[in-house]
Symmetry: none
Subunit: 211 residues, 4 copies
DNA sequence: TATGAATGAGATTTCATTCAT
DNA sequence: AATGAATGAAATCTCATTCAT
């Protein structure tokens, strides 16, 4: 029995019913383990959640950092970030959702640590937007609103994207890049070709889509 | 003791801690009532939540319908809808959030009823988008994505808007209208003047911002 | 259902099996209450124990203070204290035992509070012994040892005294007074007549002897 | 890894927190062993306790028998027994305490066996007291009470004696002998010289004082 | 000799809810 | 309108113990 398996079951339940509404026995049943045995693998319900969120946010930070580094100018950097964000969210929808709105279930201490990670991630976007604005590449009414709107839009992908849906992931990514470019009044709507899109990875805690 | 007061306390707790993590005794304490007394006002924990969500969605549907009716063409209709959505969400942030993601806590039956209401609301947007596209007023990669992105963006407002923040509500509304127009390749970014913006109402279940 | 009844059941169990080995369900059964209902009366297992110990020690302090005040000189004061201590212990044997050696089960905070009370009680004896020694009324090898031995002796009564045993309580009290007098080299072995003995009270938490 | 080491750790925990409140994993940690490994050395939690108590009581019986045998008359025999009892208790305070009041944690069967051993030990004192009384060497109000008081007094030593305290062990022993002599109205308060005092041994299960 | 994995039973405590008053 | 008392069910977590390795 691997930790990832337990995390997958947990994410599956947490995403559907919520952390507080999910019992630890339920999780045990889901992975075929006695509830007491779960405590062998994870120290407790909160530790389990912390582990999931921490892994998720670290993957996001690492992935976004590396992706953005490949962009030569702010416009391309931002396009890559948007594509990454959408890609990650679409590829790890349940983990993303759990990482986003079960932070309130954490104790003060853990919540602070996780919030710091999330802030790091959002800073990656904020910095590129600032750089681009400073260089005159972007133009928008309010920079803060644009950033928030863009991130929220991408995050929302987790609610509706289906791997076998009408649009493929690259199509969705390109669509969002185009929306972002318009929001920032960039003339070239397609700074990225399809082959340049970052290819997202499935992280350990993401359950099979059917779960 | 009025029902609205109880709902406000409930929304305050549900928005912060979540429905499942909020105890009925906690709510009693919050409004200065014995937990048993709450059962005089609300039939139970789920009924309380249902009442809140139903009121909220009905207000949204009514408000959006009336607002959109005032628009002469699809472009103005959509602008009004976006402004309304942002306005409602910013004015009733906690109730909106609860209505959005505590639906999973409902029993199958209640969940279906509420989902039907939400679908009605989203249909208002979908119809205008379709009309406008048919008339050649809008142009975008994918209509479904554009709609989802627009709604998600607006919903996200509940997470960060503050009445005493850097931007006033009308400013935020106009900003979002502009973003939407760009997303749909409408040439006129400002189809609405500030005086034409719908003025949102605070609904009964929305607690004071400080709560 | 009264608090005293719950305390009696608790003391009965704690004295026999120990605090840690006694389940809260067991207590519920003993008083004919659902385990959840117990939390209506006592806030928790530890609060229950704290309540018992606090009552017991306060009764001891009050009783001993008042009793000693009736003695004119150190010799009579000490005789009265010994008689009181033996009387209290014999009358409330189970509560005494619980109050004595389940203090280790308390949290640091509660333990400190209770220890302070116990110290107050022991000070009553220490002060009289010092006064008597200063006045030349007592003579013994080591004052500290004499005090500890005397108290331990009296406490031990809880292990063997039976109300219907070979010796009546006044007889036991007089016996212990005599032992104490000898230990302190007081010439008069019987400074108290039988009618002067303090008559101990049964405190609320002490269960019926048969329990 | 030796059995004695495990017993020492166990006694240390049992004396401090009590048998029921001490986990077997806790013991494992204390001796640097996996909890499963403990089952190689001791058959289980109760067997561990039984082993400790049995060793302790056997040491007491053997030591007291041999010590008493060296006394020529009841007075000296009793003085030696008191000195031994105090010495043993002061030298093995934690094991003594555990052996005394964790017997209640044993199953009926084991409890009966251990009680039989304890009875043997107490009989050693009872017999000497009877002999001495028959010979007119002792005089006291009630023989049973005197015996119980004497033993309790000695047992209490485990609560306060410190090897580096104000009084050395021989001093304490002589003090208690004197108290006992007075309690029995023996004219010679010091039937034993300091060199005649029994020198107690540290038994295998007694942990280092600092533990 | 030593251990990680596993578990059934049971620990304390909280929950939403009902009901007599 | 309001509440204290009561409860069955379920929550999280710990326990002593076993067993394959």
């Amino acid at each position: 029995m691997e930790l990832g398996t337990v995390q997958q079951a947990a994410v599956s339940c947490f995403a559907q019913r919520g952390f507080a509404a999910t019992g630890i026995r339920e999780l045990g049943t889901a992975v075929g383990l006695n509830s007491a045995t779960l405590y062998h693998y994870v120290g407790g319900k909160e530790e389990l959640l912390v582990g999931i969120i921490k892994n998720c946010l670290n993957s996001m930070i690492d992935g976004a950092s590396q992706t953005a580094a490949a962009g030569a100018d702010p416009t391309r950097k931002l396009a890559l970030l948007v594509a990454f964000h959408v890609g990650f969210t679409a590829t790890n929808p349940k983990t993303s959702r759990v990482a986003e709105h079960e932070m309130r279930a954490l104790s003060t201490e853990n919540a602070a640590q996780m919030q710091a990670l999330r802030d790091s991630y959002e800073q990656l976007f904020a910095r590129v937007l600032q750089d681009g604005t400073a260089q005159g590449a972007f133009s928008t009414g309010d920079l803060g609103i644009a950033r928030l709107a863009m991130m929220e839009m991408g995050t929302g992908v987790s609610h509706w994207f289906r791997r076998d849906g009408r649009l493929s992931l690259p199509e969705v990514q390109l669509n969002f890049v185009a929306l972002a470019m318009r929001m920032l009044a960039v003339s070239n709507e397609s700074p990225l070709s399809r082959t340049e899109l970052p290819i997202p990875l499935v992280i350990a805690s993401e359950p099979e889509p059917k779960d």
